[in-house]
Symmetry: C2
């Protein structure tokens, strides 16, 4: 068995995970995000002890503990170099947690852990390379090559959301203009939905935005499109192009066995997946697309399961 | 010693390469491009025999033969799946050449071989990951991860020139719109130079184009900029942005130790390199750029040396 820790800005979620990637037991506690890393690791250790106690598990049964954390990670040494929504700078989480347990501890970037979780969830021995993307507040990416997370020479590779698809385009949170994230994130879809609602006050999109207190959400465009609204259909059509263009780039660069789409917007399911697949198939270099495109399976558990399997 | 074969649409160039990557002897013959692969390999074998004879080298001294070839390659089996400027379809070059010599034979994509050549030319044991790009008729890319060429799950990964940097933009030879190649290739620079000459008939750019028989070349914009011409300066400024935006994407995805720029346009040297470096440094994700950017060292020999080292 393994322990997977999903360390976020608001909470620490920990799961006891079996060899097959099933979560046997899960618990959580708040993150004291502004405290020193030693306090955070102390809380983590207490929660692990509680889980071991509650499930009547001996530490001898745990093969490894994995911690998924946002930010830049030195995965070779288990050190969080920098995490912008936690007060972590060069924090040796691995060393610190080993003070509590005589178990190997691994640390990885949370988006990469989620990708590793989705990789194992595919459960196909012919699949060795995947790219997992999350369409949420931002656009996250995790690259698995030869069954391992690819982190580049310094641990921070794989920032697929921060590759420009439109030079000089929409402002991105990273400071560049025209990043994929500035077009394919839920945030971007919400921005475009609000704009479309203003420009088309008689549309069903505008009605749904008004009903939602004047605020757009990631679902509104898909719901309006489903109801046959032209403004909604146009919004989804454009959004699909942005998502798919980025995926074609990924295919042309990596030729992975699979691209897995997760994050809030992926809840749209086939309404997103079907047109994205068609677009990618039509535009991938060389014509014969060998990459399977699918919706992520694990939802919010991907981080816990992937972190657990850092040591697999 | 190794033998490196650069198999192109017009010629077969073969070099005898030592352990340090120096070409000891080089020879070439025309490619009978429309003939069956067996004819091409027969010519290749004859030229290898001539080189061995001319240099008084015994086949026992050759550790491996590597063939670099344009197109899609099954590098595991040494088969050219498809090469658009040669009549090769599922051509087992490795097996065929082994009929002539009892030496291991490897086959790789030519752009990837050039990247491998440039990787060895860096001659720095701390460098394991590089991306080499060529700014020529198209934009080629070769990715080296852990000292090996990265070819994805099907041998055709690394098509960096065919990643979109401008959704819906300039038409690309691959069928998509807005590919990096459609902005950063020599072909694109020539297109933009001809356009600028027409729009600015009094510019020095226009004068140079006229002197060149009405045709632009890759050097004209750089030469005009050097002479202080505003049209030339603007052309170079824009071109630098296109090249650099693609390199920032590469850095954000791969975080390689180095990006090496080759191809015809790289002859511009510091006039290209200096502003590209500045732009990438300013825009790379996370601020602290750890990737060195340099001009390729090997020129046209990169393909021969890289092919030779496929078996190293």
């Amino acid at each position: 068995m393994y322990l997977g820790v999903d360390l976020g800005g608001t909470g620490i979620k920990i799961g006891l995970v079996d060899e097959n990637g099933s979560i046997l037991h899960k618990d959580s506690c708040p993150t004291q995000a502004m405290e020193d890393y030693k306090i955070i690791v102390k809380d983590m250790a207490s929660l692990i002890k509680k889980i071991l106690n509650d499930t009547d598990t001996n530490t001898m049964e745990i093969k490894a503990i994995g911690i998924g954390c946002p930010g830049s990670i030195d995965d070779k040494n288990g050190v969080v170099l920098y995490a912008n929504n936690l007060n972590l700078h060069n924090a040796p989480l691995s060393c610190e947690l080993k003070k509590y347990f005589d178990i190997p501890v691994y640390v990885g970037n949370d988006a990469n852990c989620a990708a590793l979780g989705e990789f194992f969830a595919l459960n196909d021995e012919n699949i060795t390379d995947i790219v997992a993307i999350t369409l949420g507040t931002g656009v996250g990416g995790g690259i698995i090559i030869n069954k391992k997370i690819f982190t580049g020479t310094n641990g921070i590779a794989g920032e697929l959301g921060h590759t420009v698809i439109n030079v000089g385009g929409e402002k991105c949170s990273c400071g560049r203009n025209g990043c994929w994230e500035a077009y394919a994130s839920a945030t971007a879809l919400i921005r475009d939905t609000e704009k479309a609602a203003k420009e088309n006050p008689d549309s069903y999109v505008a009605k749904l935005v008004a009903e939602n207190g004047g605020k757009a959400s990631g679902e509104i465009s898909f719901n309006a499109a489903k109801a046959g609204d032209e403004t909604g259909k146009k919004l989804v059509e454009n959004y699909v192009i942005y998502v798919a263009e980025g995926i074609v780039n990924i295919v042309n660069i990596f030729q992975p066995h699979a691209v897995v789409i997760g994050g809030g917007v992926s809840n749209a399911g086939d309404a997103l997946l079907t047109p994205v697949k068609e677009y990618v198939k039509k535009n991938a270099y060389g014509g014969a697309l060998q990459t399977k495109i699918s919706i992520a399976k694990l939802g919010n558990d991907a981080g816990i399961i992937g972190a657990a399997f850092l040591g697999k």
